[in-house]
């Protein structure tokens, strides 16, 4: 029962929330907007893609998934649709198998069809297009919907700001995560008779995808949004995209599942169907390997294949579906030593670089821009990544003085960077600080003759040491420090940098 005065309260309350501004404005970061047509690949509207990621990276990864508006439209649309269909098909299949390894073939196909219908309903399969030489990203719904699956910047601001919706597979992956959640919820919804009723399940999951989780049964009742649900159902029923896809079994231009699952080497030369590289395992550690004249050489990870390539190994295509035992006699290279020796002007992990111009700090190499770092900034190198392309572009993961972590472009084989300068001094303040330190790990830390080598003695927790030098090794950028202590001198393991930093658990630096 409502008490007197409650109506007034409700009215005021409703008014106040209706009045509240949305956190992301219409057409946020939507520069040089262009229109479009309600046809496949060209849905309205589109804005400069480089607001969310580097054009060079877009071209490297998804060059063939861009619709070129400067060439014959019908032929170009047909080409584009085949390319995009292959990506959506592979992503949907990979995703549901990953989440539900025993998924039936019927359910997998139903899920794939649902995802294709969502891509039609949301954007007419539109993502990237090239207009007057500029790369554009499709933006619908007053600019709030980003790309192929219309990821909403009010709901997913953080992911969008970091460039994950700009990236074609990133966009799909976000949508797959959301749609799959709704797909599973729909199996138990009151409006779906049973989980195997895939038509009802598809419609319910779409209502939730489009209207939010509370709307899972919206399609069964009259609502202001019935047109959305009916429009989706029509598309699901008609499968119009099939009229444009002449090669439904076309092999995608890159390894889609690899990108969906955060793989390290899924594009460029590494996706060449003539496979020469593979993932191998030796002594419980994984490596990426290449064969040349029956000799196998390996480096710590697939993203370092460019360094093997620079060392003269043919690296075209990576077989990454399983790992195989590395044959005895193979050479196992440390990424830091091999890449440092093979690529000129590579700033090592643990060193410092200085920006010569203003540079973008990005979430991923070439991805979403986090902030602009001013010229003259001092950055500590946490990691490096070398693209296995013709010019071996170098990117550095750095920590800025603000504490923000991200990637900056360094240089390539053909262009020495005028963006950054390598600082020769060793011992960054934010990674390894030379000088006094305390052993922090409970139970103490082994003092060894060489990094990871023969043990001399255990240095107890709380022991004072002096760090004189350090070395970074391995796939996780493991830190070893050369110390002096009352118990003698030698090397201590001092934590790792990837995937999360653990140095402070091992040693407290700068402590007297």
């Amino acid at each position: 029962m409502l008490k007197p005065g409650t109506w007034l309260l409700l009215f005021t309350f409703t008014f106040s929330i209706a009045d509240a501004a949305s956190t992301t404005p219409n057409y946020w970061k939507c520069n040089n907007r262009i229109g479009g047509t309600w046809e496949f690949a060209t849905a309205p509207q589109a804005c400069d893609a480089n607001s969310f990621g580097e054009d060079q990276t877009l071209k490297h990864r998804y060059g063939v998934q861009v619709l070129d508006l400067s060439v014959s439209r019908s032929a170009e649309r047909a080409r584009y649709m085949n390319e995009l269909y292959a990506v959506i098909r592979d992503a949907a299949d990979y995703y549901i198998r990953r989440r539900k390894p025993n998924v039936s073939d019927t359910e997998r196909q139903a899920f794939r069809r649902a995802i294709l219908a969502v891509a039609h309903q949301e954007s007419f399969f539109s993502h990237y297009r090239k207009s007057s030489g500029a790369y554009k990203l499709m933006r619908g719904d007053f600019g709030h919907g980003h790309g192929l699956m219309q990821i909403d910047d009010r709901f997913h601001f953080v992911n969008i700001d970091k460039g994950y919706a700009w990236d074609l597979v990133g966009n799909l992956r976000l949508a797959l995560e959301i749609y799959y959640q709704a797909w599973e919820q729909a199996a138990k919804a009151s409006c779906v008779s049973r989980g195997s009723n895939f038509q009802a399940r598809t419609r319910s999951a779409y209502s939730a995808y489009n209207g939010g989780p509370s709307q899972i049964c919206r399609w069964t009742r009259a609502s202001s949004w019935a047109a959305n649900d009916l429009g989706f159902f029509d598309k699901w029923t008609d499968r119009q995209w099939e009229r444009y896809v002449s090669q439904p079994n076309k092999v995608s231009s890159f390894n889609v599942g690899c990108v969906v699952d955060g793989g390290e080497s899924c594009f460029g030369d590494d996706s060449n169907p003539t496979v020469t590289a593979f993932l191998g395992i030796s002594n419980e550690r994984e490596y990426a390997c290449a064969k040349s004249n029956s000799k196998t050489s390996c480096v710590n990870s697939a993203r370092d294949l460019a360094c093997l390539s620079a060392a003269g190994f043919s690296v075209t295509g990576l077989s990454a579906s399983k790992t195989i035992a590395i044959p005895s006699g193979a050479s196992l290279f440390d990424r830091h030593k091999l890449c440092g020796a093979m690529l000129s002007s590579l700033a090592p992990v643990g060193s410092r670089i200085e920006t010569v111009k203003n540079v973008y700090l990005r979430e991923t190499p070439g991805g979403g821009a986090l902030e602009i770092i001013q010229s003259g900034a001092d950055l500590d190198v946490l990691d490096f990544e070398i693209r296995n392309d013709a010019v071996r572009s170098r990117y550095y993961r750095v920590i800025a003085s603000t504490g923000k972590i991200g990637w900056v472009f360094g240089a390539s084989d053909t262009a020495n960077s005028d963006l950054i300068r390598i600082n020769d001094s060793k011992g960054g303040e934010r990674i390894v600080k030379l000088g006094p330190a305390l052993v922090a790990m409970s139970g103490g830390v082994n003092l060894r003759k060489t990094p990871g080598g023969e043990r001399i003695v255990v240095i107890p927790t709380g022991t004072r040491v002096t760090i004189e030098d350090f070395e970074i090794r391995g796939r996780d950028n493991e830190v070893y420090v050369l110390v002096r202590s009352a118990l003698g001198g030698g090397w201590l393991y001092a934590g790792r940098i990837l995937p999360t930093m653990t140095i402070s658990e091992w040693i407290k630096m700068g402590v007297q």
Binding site: F155, E177, G212, G262, K322, N446, D476, R496
Partner: protein, 264 residues
């Protein structure tokens, strides 16, 4: 002063309990007719009595705020369910966004109350709202629980219920930042006698959770691996796709655990 603190804490616990239970209560019930035990506690000199009155006034004011917020949350849930929090013909999610915006603001206000009065405990409210299907709301609930991290864990039954609700809420989410935010809460529970429950959640999230959640969980798994569970995590790692970030991250976590065990 001890008696005053005890009285304040007693009244506050009563208020929060009543709030959490969602009961209709009137001010005079607990502020003007204290129990015999409470009356015993407040027999104090006049100067302390005046302090006591101030405390009472503060608590009454806080209780009024809490009750008003509870009422607002109730209305918000109703209009969210009816899709009527905002009518905007251009956007099917407008009602959802409007509700979320206000719910998160209310949760923020509750955090402010918790900041001013550390005796406040909103775990029952958190158990309910962690299930709201929006990550901004879940994030607001986690913020509230994070503020309670300094508090000692309560009775086992209540803690188990809160942990289960948090784990269910996280299972319903696909958000990596939300999982990252929850890490200190999970660690606190793991240290407080719920290590097995938390480990199972971590293992399940890495194996077949949303991919971005799996990646983050795998990177953070080192905090939860122990000698009993390491073989389970090793088996999970072997079952993950060879090229996946989840597998790389989990391998790194297992390796780091082994290094910790051996002293590096």
């Amino acid at each position: 002063m001890k008696a005053l603190s005890a009285w304040g804490a007693l009244v506050l616990i009563l208020l929060i309990t009543l709030f959490n239970a969602g009961r209709e209560i009137r001010d005079e019930k607990y502020s003007e007719n204290p129990t015999a035990e409470s009356q015993e506690n407040i027999r104090a000199p006049a100067s302390i009595k005046s302090e006591s009155e101030k405390t009472l006034s503060f608590l009454k004011d806080q209780e009024r705020q809490i009750r008003s917020m509870q009422s607002e949350l109730h209305h918000l849930k109703k209009c969210w369910e009816a899709d009527s929090c905002r009518v905007d013909s251009s956007d099917p999610k407008s009602s959802h966004f409007a509700a979320v915006e206000r719910i998160t603001a209310v949760l923020k206000e509750l955090r402010e109350i918790k900041r001013k009065n550390t005796a406040a405990n909103f775990s029952i409210l958190a158990r309910e709202w962690i299930h709201f299907p929006d990550d901004h709301v879940r994030s607001g609930v986690l913020d509230l629980l994070l503020q309670e991290l300094g508090d000692e864990l309560g009775d086992e039954k209540s803690d188990r219920q809160t942990l289960q609700a948090v784990l269910e809420g996280l299972r319903e989410s696909i958000s990596a930042p939300l999982i990252e935010k929850a890490m200190p809460i999970l660690e606190n529970y793991a240290r407080g006698g719920f290590a097995r429950e938390v480990q199972s959640f971590v293992a399940e999230s890495v194996s077949n959770g949303p991919i971005q959640v799996s990646e983050i969980m795998a990177a953070q798994a080192g905090r939860f691996i122990d000698t009993e569970s390491v073989s389970r995590f090793r088996a999970i790692s072997d079952s993950l796709p060879a090229h996946s970030r989840s597998r790389r991250n989990l391998e790194a976590s297992i390796l780091e655990f082994k290094r910790r065990q051996s002293g590096g």
